[in-house]
């Protein structure tokens, strides 16, 4: 069992490395202890800079560095896998008082940048049986398994950072990984398109016929006919992009 004084020294060195605040440590080379603070902090900063290049550019390097410092000081990093730490950073930011001290877009932007990592690194799942969407009424509609949708409030993909706040609106977006090329793609969609995708994400093995029937039930005849055309056009677009597939039911 560790003696309290051993635990105490280990805890103090860890605390110093996290915060840079001087601790009462028994050291053989006190002039070199700052290397631990430097090394530890730059690992975390490096990971965050790699994960959030747009956010860092938008708020400036010094502000970003200060934010990472605050995160590392105040948050107990849980994951043993440092490449997953950006998600902890997103979640920490959302619930910290930093939200009020930073631009209103920052929480969403951090999450948006994380989604790219999440999709890129998402565990592989079997895509056996997936065929290109051909509009077969009795086949199941199947979305690309490496897909996230988000309704952005700011147009990170369309405008410069200084214009984001004034352009606040709705910008639905799909982020997905190519099934065979592993590349991450972004696709701006309409609000209607986002609704369709989110509906498909919540339903399993729905056939095209069943989907169109649900659409008909929820709308009047004239609307339904128009919507069905829209949906089929949209599905063909999704298929072309590698987002929508079909599979035998």
């Amino acid at each position: 069992m560790l003696k309290p004084e051993t635990i105490n020294q280990q805890s103090k060195l860890a605390q110093y490395s996290r915060t840079g605040e001087k601790q009462d440590l028994i050291l053989s080379n006190p002039q070199h202890v700052f290397q631990y603070r430097r090394l530890v902090f730059y690992v975390v900063l490096g990971i965050m800079q790699q994960a959030f290049p747009i956010a860092q550019k938008a708020i400036g390097i010094e502000s970003f560095k200060a934010l990472v410092n605050e995160f590392f000081n105040s948050h107990n990093c849980k994951t043993p896998q440092v490449w997953k730490l950006p998600l902890e950073f997103c979640n920490w930011f959302k619930t910290s008082n930093q939200v009020d001290l930073n631009p209103s877009y920052l929480s969403e932007l951090l999450y948006f940048e994380w989604l790219e990592i999440e999709v890129h690194t998402q565990k592989d799942t079997s895509t056996e049986g997936l065929m290109p969407f051909q509009g077969n009424a009795i086949s199941s509609l199947r979305l690309n398994p490496y897909l996230k949708s988000i309704n952005l409030n700011y147009p990170y993909h369309k405008f410069l950072p200084e214009e984001w706040l004034s352009q606040k609106a709705e910008y639905p977006m799909v982020i997905y990984r190519g099934v065979s090329d592993f590349k991450v793609h972004f696709m701006a969609v309409s609000k209607f398109g986002l609704g369709v995708i989110q509906f498909l994400l919540q339903t399993e093995n729905l056939t095209l016929g069943e989907f169109l029937e649900i659409l008909t039930q929820q709308n009047n005849e004239a609307q339904s006919e128009n919507l069905q055309k829209q949906v089929l056009t949209f599905f063909n677009q999704l298929s072309h992009k590698g987002i929508l597939f079909e599979a035998s039911k």
């Binding site: 069992m1 560790l2 003696k3 004084e5 051993t6 635990i7 020294q9 280990q10 805890s11 060195l13 860890a14 605390q15 490395s17 996290r18 440590l25 028994i26 050291l27 053989s28 080379n29 006190p30 070199h32 202890v33 290397q35 631990y36 090394l39 530890v40 690992v43 975390v44 990971i47 948050h75 107990n76 990093c77 849980k78 994951t79 043993p80 896998q81 440092v82 490449w83 997953k84 730490l85 890129h120 690194t121 998402q122 565990k123 592989d124 799942t125 490496y146 990984r177 592993f182 590349k183």
Partner: protein, 273 residues
Amino acid sequence: MVKGVGIGFRRDIADEIIGMVNPSPNFIELAPENWIDMGGYWRAKLDEAAEKYPISLHGLSLSIGSPDELDFDFLKKIKAFIKQYDIKIYSEHLSYSKCDNAHLYDLLPIPFTQDAVIHIAERIKVVQDYLEMPLAIENVSYYTAVAAEMKEHEFISEIVNKSNCNLLLDVNNIYVNAFNHGYNTKDFINNLPLEKVSYIHMAGHEKVADDLIIDTHGEAIIDPVYELLKWVYPKLNNSPVLLERDFNFPEINELKRELTQLHKITNQEEVDA
């Protein structure tokens, strides 16, 4: 089978390593933390490399010297990864990287104390039992000792002997520590349980001040470190040697030149100046 001379599998040079010839590495080493749960492009690259080379694991986050509890959820993932890739060598650092329930993502020096010896030896035994394989622990570089009550070689030797684990002999770390803390490299090595060495690391470092070398893994191996390996290697059991290069990657031919040098040493041939 992990034997001969290997190289650290890093993303920046993944394609070069996969395509490496004359010489090609005999094996590759990777940090499981950087690959577990990862799919997509990088998983495909790992699988491509695994088709070509045996893999050894060198962990970063087990935090064997931590006062915190061992993380069995994490160990479970390590065990599954070991099984998936048929891993025969799993090594970790004799340091801690987690404390007060927070990961630090770098290696902090453990106080060289008797209670730490007992604590760590017990934890190594638990890990070895859980993984059903021996753990090799690495002598780490450090820039200041913390609350030390015994010598570093005594600390390492006692842990290895009490836990019956293997020793990963990091030759560069011995050179770095000898410079930073003023001891003789060969005396230090002679005081270690060399019969327990199962694996060797070689790397470069950076002298950042008159009295300090940092173990960066970002430079080429220097001649005195080659010389030290040449001196110690005949005392060891033909242990596999790993070239560590984590940053500041040179042209692949430069890494091949280092691999060739290491091959020559392990084959007891003359090393080029």
